[in-house]
Amino acid sequence: MAVMTYIDAINSALHEEMERDPNVFIIGEDVGKMGGAFKATKGLLEKFGAERVIDSPLAEGAIVSSSIGAAMAGMRPVPEIQFADFITPAMDAITQQAAKLRYRSAGTQTCPITVRVCYGGSVGGGLSHSQSLTSWFIHCPGLIVVAPSTPYDAKGMLKAAIRNDDPVMFFEHKKLYRSLKEEVPKEDYTVPLLKAEVRRKGTDLTAISYGYTLQLTMQAAEAVKEKYGIDVEVVDLRTLAPLDTDAFLNSVAKTSRAVIVHEDNRTLGIGAEVSAVIAEQAFDCLEAPILRVTAPDVPLLPAAAELERFCTISVEKIVDAFERTMEH
C-alpha cells in the first residue's frame, strides 16, 4: 500500500496502463513536456516518448476524434480535456461519433477511448474553469460517464476504463486532486465501472452524491449524527451513466428518505435523474420529498469569492437539507 493523492493515483494508473499495454497512448494539450496542466501525465513523455504522449494542437475536436479513429484501428487512446469548460469543440466527436459508432455499425466498429476530463469548482476558477458539464454526456446513450471521488477509485476506475471496450468519459474533480490522500494498493487492481458504493451505512436517510461533494456529504452525515443522532446512509454514485439504480433504490427502500447532492446546476443535473428514478421505482417507500442540494441555475462559477461561495455546496447546506427531510 502507498498513501496517494487523487492526482498521484491518476498518474500511476496511466504509468501502469501504458506499461501493461503498448496500445495505450496519451493525447492532449500540454500533456507532454509539461506533464499536464495539473501534472496528471507527469513523467510519461520521458518514459514512453513523444509518439505515445502527444502534445496535440489546440483543438479538442481533433484530440477526441483522432482518438476515436486510433481506437477503431486497435489502439487504446486516453485523450485529455484540460478543463471541462473547453470540451465544446469535441461535442460532435464525443456525442455523435464515439457514443454512436458501435450502435450505428451494429457492433462491428467500436472505439474504446477514455476521455479524461478535469472538472468542477470551489477552487476560484471563475466562469471558465469550474464547470461540470457531465449532464450533456449522461444524456447520451453509448457513453459511460465516470466520476470517482477517492484516490482508490480514481486509480482503479481509470484502469478499468482504459480496459473497457466502450467510450468512457472520465471526470476528475480538480478540487480533489490534491486535497485528499488515501491508501492505495501497490498491486494491479481495477474497480468495476458500473457499480455505485455505499460509503457510509445508515438507516434514517439516504444521501446520494459523487465527486467532491461526496466528501462534503460525508462530513454532513457525521455532523447530523453528532447533532441529532440521525444516521445517514451515503451512496457514492461513482458512475453517472449508466446509473447503478439498484444501489440507491435499495438504500431508499430502507431509509424512506432521499437527499441528492451535487455541485452542478439544479436543472437536469444528475440529481434530476436520480430523483425521477426514485419517484418512479421506489415511490411506495418514500416518506418525504426528495430534496436536491445543488448549485442555483446560474452560470458556474462567478469569480468573486462571495459569489462563488453562494453558488457552491457547503456542509451547512447539506445539513440543512438533511434536517428538512427528517422534519417532514
Binding site: F25, E51, R52, S56, P57, A59, G61, A62, S65, S66, S67, I68, G69, A70, A71, M72, A73, G74, M75, P77, P89, D92, A93, Q96, Q97, K100, L101, R102, Y103, R104, S105, A106, G107, T108, Q109, T110, P141, G142, I144, N164, D165, D166, T203, P242, D246, L249, N250, V252, A253, K254, T255, S256, E280, Q281, A282, D284, C285, E287
Partner: protein, 361 residues
Amino acid sequence: MTTTQDLIGTGALQPGTDSSGKDLDSALLRRLYTYMLKCRTVEDRIRVLYRQGRFAGNYFNAIGQEATEVGATIDLLPEDTVAPSHRNFVAHIMKGTPLPLMFAHIYGRKDSPDQGRSAPAHCGYAPLNIITPSSTIAAQLNIGTGIALAHKMRRKPYVVVALSGEGSTSLGFWHEAVNFSAVHKLPMIFVVENNLYAESVPVALQTAVEDISVKAQAYGIPGITVDGNDVVAVYTAMREAIERARSGGGPTLLESKTYRWYGHSEIDPAKYRDSAEVEYWKSRDPIAAMERYLTERDLWTEQWKKELLADINREIDEAISFAERSPAPQAEEALDHVYSFSIRERELERKTYSPQYPRRQ
C-alpha cells in the same frame, strides 16, 4: 503546389502539362471505365427503387461524379481505410463490399452491415475498413485522421482516403483534421469533391478562393486540383498522393472539380441551379468522356458496354432480391449494441421497490 490536370480532355480545365497518366495500361483504363459504369448503373437503380417507394429514408447519389468516386477509391488495399461522406455510397463498389450487403443496407434489413440502423446512404463495412459515417459533415475526416495516426504509430504502410464535399471545408472539423494530419505527417488523402454546391449553397458562399486546393498552403501540405470528371486525371493524382502517404510523405489535399447531375438528395428538385449549367455539365459526362478516350485507343465498343451492363444489371438484380428476402430487424434489437454489454434487461424490466422497514410517523 497547386497544379491542374486534364488528361482525357473533358474540356473542363486548361489542358495540363502533367503527362503522368499516359503510362496507364489498357487493362487499368478499362477497369476505371467499368467501375464508373457500375457506379452509375447502381445509383440509377437506387433512384428507381426510391421512386417506387421500395426503401425509406433518403439517398444522396453521386451521378455525374463517378470519375472522382472511382479514381479516388480504386485499387486500395483492404487495410486502407475509406472515410466516406453521405455522397460516397458507391465507394463500397471499388472497395469490394458485396453488392447484396449494400442493397440490404439500402433496404434497412438485418443483413445490412449495420443491421438496419443507419440511413441508406450512410454505410460502413468493417472487414474492408470503410468507416460507418454519421451525417455530421466532415466528422469522418477526423476519425480517419485517428486511423492514420494509428497506422503511423504501428509503422503500417496503410493509408486513409477521406472524402468530402467543398461545403465541408467551411467547418471547423475539416480544418482540425487537415491541420492535425499535416503536423503529424499522417498517411491521409483528403479528397474534396467540389461539385459547386452544398445542398443549395454555391461554392462562392463557402469560400472566397477559386480553387479549394490552395487551402493546402495553410497546412504546409501539397494541394492539387484535378478535373474531377476525368478519371485518368483523378486516378493519376491519387496514385501519387497515395504513394506519398504510404511512404511517410504525409497528407495531400486533392480537389476534384465536378458536378452532381441531380438534386442534393432524392427529395431535392434542385431548382436553385439553372438548367444551362446542368446541361453544360451533363455534356461533360465523365463516362462518355472516357468512352471517347478509350475508343481513340481501340479499347471500347458498344458491344462491350452492352455486355458490361448486362453483367452489372444481373448482379444488381440478384443483390436486390437478396435484400428483399433479408428479414427486417426485430423491434427489440433496437436495444442492442449501445454498449459492449447488453441493456435489454435494464430497459425492459424495471424493478419496483417496496418498503422493507416499517413506516414511521
